[in-house]
Symmetry: C2
Subunit: 410 residues, 2 copies
């Protein structure tokens, strides 16, 4: 028997589901991919640099490697004269060691010879003879040199487990000679929408029918958050049909989502089915959040499947998908950085709903003015226009105009 | 003969390449995809709604549809009594017309019957008999009703050509019964890195050699910006080899990028080759930007290929890839929204470089404090750490601490 009156806070709901996944041995498989195929994948290992980058002291200018002290006092009118004793070639080792009064030509990126402590830009020199230059610049030690290990040192942590690979990370990992990395396999998800009133993309609209919105909305979010959509179903309201479909889905999915409309009795159907087919039975039946209350979670340890019932209301289903489903699986994969937020200033007062968390869609402009969008229930267009949402915590009073708020992105 | 001294401003470089693409009939092919496969694709058509959403007046609460006037003066102690003359079912048409003193039960989302001008929440009513209710709330006309077309009206522009499809757009387009959309085919790109000093992921590092960074960096950015990488090459510095490789690439690529190191004579090799193999010859040879000056652009109208030589410096190559290549092709596809920026406040003075645009990598924190990262030339790690970059325009003086700046993302 499920207690229909006891709702969880969002944090409680996330914690219950997460703990059940842990104790029920939910695990995310790991695969190796080559670095060039790793864009946007989630790192499943800490990456430690095996080398210093750069590996050797390098020049950052086209010019001459010198002993810094030799240039003391040199300026536009009183140059220092140095002997050119060699040339450092790109990609070649350099065995020359320079002494006081000597210098070596170095192009950008080339190795600094032993004995040299700084570089001089070629613009600030002049050839006197083929092997003597005048230096019109005084440089301090280290000037225009990148020291070995300046970028990253051998043994240093390059990227952390759970990091989502960006383009610049792909360049960075190349530089430390990493070319195969372990990433989490994309989790498989099945998305089910239920409702006698819903019709799918192949049906003709008829008066009184509503096109199913949640399936494509949740497919899009699944793509965004690196999930692999294995199947989608649009079902009539039928307990047996829902149970059969979910049971089948549990064999090839890590996550099964059912989002229901608001027709009478529907919420009970989802929760009854989810309760029947999960080893944990229903963990959370209702979350103290507005919109999004009719959210149900469970876990089945036999098939290792997360089961979540989301509200039919598109805005609520999208927000709860992120705040519950993505939050839990990203926690399981050590991902912290996906929660992009942006601070801004409220342009209006926002009322709170006592005893529950309130989610308010907002826009945010270039000057960080945050304005609520009062889309009425079920208006999916408002979600398309919104930049993100703000959260009013359970016991928070309303937000006053002019207050600082954190905007979350979907 | 290429004039090596004449550099273009960034805007001039973009305009020249864009105009050459237009006059040389560069076009981006269009394909149809089903909405469920459209995440992150670029829309190649304006989408106009063919229907009103919602199609009919709907209730946003579980309750009763009423004539608003009937509830005038009703409150907690003095209810209005109404006759329940029917029930509106989800997904069904509703033929009843209500008159004064009458109401109809409506669940959330169900059709509002004719004659009704507002809804009452069920919480604010009480059953007196099986077909009479007491109403303890006074409502204004329109209360708790979404009118037909409130979300979007038939004939209204839903999404514009060039829009990048988000998850919420997939839901939104579902709601207006769109299920196949025209998107731009992903452009094919070949990425070439050149440099005797560079070694690829399969080579053992040896002293003096540097691992190629730009290939994976540019592959990552290509993934991010919806390009299809057809080939990648790491070439030694050899004019003939580069020319042959580029010529072959032009047959299956829309864009061919060559990024070169800084070894002597290299820039001339790239520009000579690009000049030889393009119908436009070199359009821009050098851009007044720091870092990123050695950037070369051309277009070949015979193979309809954009040819760009990027600097070897990873930060410069990434920034110029975005500011030139992505800028031009997104302009060709009418994409405006990719240029995410964020305003912030400088925490330090930033010097400008007279006569050229300066690009400075920065971090930005939650309080919008923007701090420069003075990575030295070629330190790819700094790009991985940076949140974005700021631009100092050609004739702009330095930026003072405390000034407002716009941060661009890579």
């Amino acid at each position: 028997m499920i207690d229909l009156l006891k709702v969880d806070s969002l944090d409680e709901a996330v914690e219950k589901l997460y703990n059940e996944c842990i104790s029920g041995n939910f695990s995310v498989a790991v695969e190796e991919v080559s670095l060039s195929d790793s864009y946007n994948r989630i790192l499943a290992e800490d990456i430690i640099s095996n080398i210093d980058v750069p590996e050797f002291d390098r020049s950052v200018v086209d010019g001459y490697a010198v002993v810094a002290k030799d240039t003391e006092g040199a300026n536009d009118t009183i140059p220092t004269i140095l002997n050119v004793v060699g040339e450092s070639l790109m990609g070649k080792t350099q065995d020359i060691e320079i002494k006081n009064g000597e210098c070596v030509y170095v192009p950008t990126g080339a190795m600094i010879p032993k004995g040299a402590t700084a570089c001089i830009m070629i613009e600030n020199t002049e050839n006197i003879t083929s092997n003597r230059i005048a230096v019109y610049e005084s440089v301090a030690e280290g000037k225009y040199i990148i020291k070995a290990g300046d970028d990253i040192k051998k043994g240093e942590l390059a990227l952390k487990k759970g990091h989502i690979i960006k383009a610049s990370d792909m360049g960075f990992l190349s530089s430390i000679a990493v070319n195969i990395i372990k990433v989490y396999k994309k989790l498989n998800i099945t998305i089910i929408s239920t409702g006698d009133e819903l019709i799918d993309e192949n049906d003709k609209l008829s008066f009184g029918k509503i096109r199913d919105v949640n399936t494509n909305l949740l497919i899009g979010l699944s793509n965004k958050y690196n999930l692999n959509v294995v199947n989608k179903y649009l079902l009539k309201d039928d307990e047996k049909l829902l149970e059969d479909t979910m049971k089948r889905a549990m064999f090839n999915s890590d996550i099964v989502i059912v989002s229901g409309g608001s027709s009478k009795g529907k919420k009970d159907t989802s929760s009854t089915v989810i309760n029947n087919i999960s080893s944990s039975h229903v963990l959370t039946h209702g979350i103290a959040i507005k919109p999004g209350k009719p959210t149900i979670t469970a876990y089945d340890k036999n098939t290792k499947t997360i089961l979540v019932g989301l509200p039919g209301h598109p805005v609520a289903s999208a927000v709860l998908f992120k705040l519950v489903v993505i939050c839990v699986i990203y926690k399981l994969m050590n991902v912290n950085e996906y929660e992009y937020t942006c601070d801004g200033i409220m342009t209006e007062n926002i009322p709170a709903s006592p005893g529950r968390m309130t989610i308010q869609l907002v826009t945010i402009d270039n000057d960080y003015n945050v304005t609520p969008i009062y889309g009425r229930s079920g208006l999916i267009h408002t979600l398309s226009i919104a930049d993100g949402f703000i959260k009013l915590e359970t016991n928070q009073e309303g937000i006053n105009k002019g207050s600082k708020v954190k905007v979350y992105y979907l």
